[in-house]
Subunit: 490 residues, 2 copies
Amino acid sequence: MSKSLPSRAENYSEWYNELVKRADLAENSAVRGCMIIKPYGYSIWEKMQRALDDMFKETGHVNAYFPLLIPKSFLSKEASHVEGFAKECAVVTHYRLKNDPNGHGVIVDPEAKLEEELIIRPTSETVIWSTYKNWVQSYRDLPILMNQWANVMRWEMRTRLFLRTAEFLWQEGHTAHATKEEAVVETEQMLNIYSEFAETFMAMPVIKGRKTANERFAGAEDTYCIEAMMQDGKALQAGTSHFLGQNFAKAFDVKFLNKANQQEFVWGTSWGVSTRLMGALIMAHSDDQGLVLPPKLAPIQVVIVPIYKGEEQLNNIKSKIDPLVAALKKRGISVKFDISENQSPGFKFAEYELKGVPVRLAIGNRDIENGTIELARRDTRVKTNLPFEGIEQVIVDTLDDIQISIYQKALGFRAANTFEVNTWDEFLVKIEEGGFLSAHWDGSPETEEKIKELTKATIRCIPLDSQEEAGKCILTGNPSKQRVIFARAY
Amino acid sequence: MSKSLPSRAENYSEWYNELVKRADLAENSAVRGCMIIKPYGYSIWEKMQRALDDMFKETGHVNAYFPLLIPKSFLSKEASHVEGFAKECAVVTHYRLKNDPNGHGVIVDPEAKLEEELIIRPTSETVIWSTYKNWVQSYRDLPILMNQWANVMRWEMRTRLFLRTAEFLWQEGHTAHATKEEAVVETEQMLNIYSEFAETFMAMPVIKGRKTANERFAGAEDTYCIEAMMQDGKALQAGTSHFLGQNFAKAFDVKFLNKANQQEFVWGTSWGVSTRLMGALIMAHSDDQGLVLPPKLAPIQVVIVPIYKGEEQLNNIKSKIDPLVAALKKRGISVKFDISENQSPGFKFAEYELKGVPVRLAIGNRDIENGTIELARRDTRVKTNLPFEGIEQVIVDTLDDIQISIYQKALGFRAANTFEVNTWDEFLVKIEEGGFLSAHWDGSPETEEKIKELTKATIRCIPLDSQEEAGKCILTGNPSKQRVIFARAY
């Protein structure tokens, strides 16, 4: 058996890195900052994709595909957009290699230089809005409710598997509307879908809020986000939905004839979640023994390990387990009956704990005699000996219970680590301990910047559900109307 | 109503280009050779993906994701591979833009030059085999049965929507095995899966065969393919499955300890199909009125158009149609009841013909009185007035029948346009008429090349089911053992 993971208490960061590798989720590639998503990790991502895609389609969205490469000049058309992305983009300058005349493999062919350089998309607003110009003439062509699943690239200097990688996978929705109101409703609807997905599928509570101007998407008028708390008390932005106003319509001259027969610029939104959610999922629930996966996203929901000596005992076990496996599969539960002989039951137990399989059953000769079976929950690590009769329903109920329990646990953790803070001294102490600090802020970007410099804490969001409350800015003492959430963040 | 399509007889190439655009499948983007796959086209691709992915998973394959960018030096490691791909690849040389000091937008920052250039993957053998080196130590680590869905880029000079684009979407399977035999079995299995998919889902008959050495994948020992005939008699390669031997294992030093405790190089395969299949699907079945889609891949399988005056008539129609729609949906049939008021029934009929909806129903006031409904098949364009009673089962049966009929029609077309040719004069005449020519070839690459120069015909494949037969090469008169398939190709 391989050595155990570093503990979270010992070194949270190392625990995360090791867990990602040991649980076969992802690894670094030969290209700096670009990851390989391994089959087990990818199968979790596929489940996320399927669930999200269904939710997008239920709300009338369709998928499409736009080019990977963006002409350099497109980026410059929206002033704050280019500001946000130009400093970290991969640039294609040539379209051919040739043999090195000195015999050292291949070199870039200087004669195959592009007239205009192309950028690997960091996000696709520019290429999509340049296309919408041709698609939209009248209000009858609106709304456009479109999404794409794609890879994008941002040349990050410090990368971490899933959390921050140069290339990542994501979905990016890009919608176009005839009115401001409709675009705002869409922006909010998608935030709600993300929040529902995070809470229902990932079992991860999130705070819905607005970003401050400093933290807004480059080119947006308003950025909504969901923020989750990781087990070290740090925040992770898990999804964003942007109200773009008419910014990209103006940059790409996308106008339509409205019902009053007047030319008007189109209103836009964009929204996305990425493989970063994998990092959030891991850090929200897992423990020192390995992954803890919510049953709704677990590639294997139930594993059954037989404990036996000799073929006769195995056959006795099989005759009880095969029908159970069939019955579970019929209910749409993904189940693995692991009769492989290379590893001991103990090794298998540790391996499935590491991989986060929610329910583990073990059955041996004595169980056969007694009509029992052992059920172990991954989340609580509690083992129970149960009657075999009726185990199918127990498994189904346990999966449901785990889904709810780990959500409740994360919710409890967040509650225990969220603090109302009213003085700067208190702020300085609490921010070192980790967690979310609910505090007053005077609304100025300079104050926000100053707090970040002093404490590394950023304003995660202005919560949508927060009440107006008169107060004084934690740093400047200037008047404030509502609390915002400060935290250190991934 | 928009003007009609060019006819196939008039200008097959223009017919195709116009159809792709008018049916909202795809369009060219601002980046040369890169396409935008529009929502309707993408929804067909999604159905293809789902069907193929299910078939891959049923045969034990798992999905993963590898980086978009490949270090230039990786390409050079397999000699024929670099030969095949170096001349048409997009090269990333820089990782940052900066503001132009002369004020013209942004320019490439010369200080952000990469030490080693990166290539946008034209295919992923190199990056994947460099990873397999770390994954494989012993025979216990094998086989690896992996696939990825990804975008790739080959800098083609002459491009056509779906058929040949600089960027395209595909799946690429990459497997690793302990024995040659197992790798060959895998190569053949995947060819069979492609063939089954083409015939069962796309309703497109294909010939399974081997490529000649000239036409082999760069780095493969053997390339298997499926070849389909388009309605202009030209061939289209619809999928390939490569036996890689130990070539990539040797290039990337991927060895394993076999059961006899000896170090051995791993055996490999790779196999792929791409959005090119969209081009094949369109050209295999469609007609001068628009797309003809096989029901198994049609985003909308059934459309129902009401013909009415006033709300009362519409309500009468609704009361009959709503339960039918619900019943069809329950059977998993995708159905659209188009009660939109902007367009006339005639306009809608033409639009759904253009989009290839397999079954169209129309129902008016007289139908309500008579208890009838009109059913039109897209493939034959035959309309029939039928009793409303029992229409649900008729629809289901008609969809099944269309799936089979268009396959049979394509099969008949191929049979009528496949010729055994035994003299060079005959070859020269027949190749101008289009179709597949079954002819003897002496097995030399020079002869193959010469025939291509003289006639633009290539050897599509050496069919797997062809019998040995003594004969003389069509061009040189040299002895030959079996016939091969010649054709002009996309």
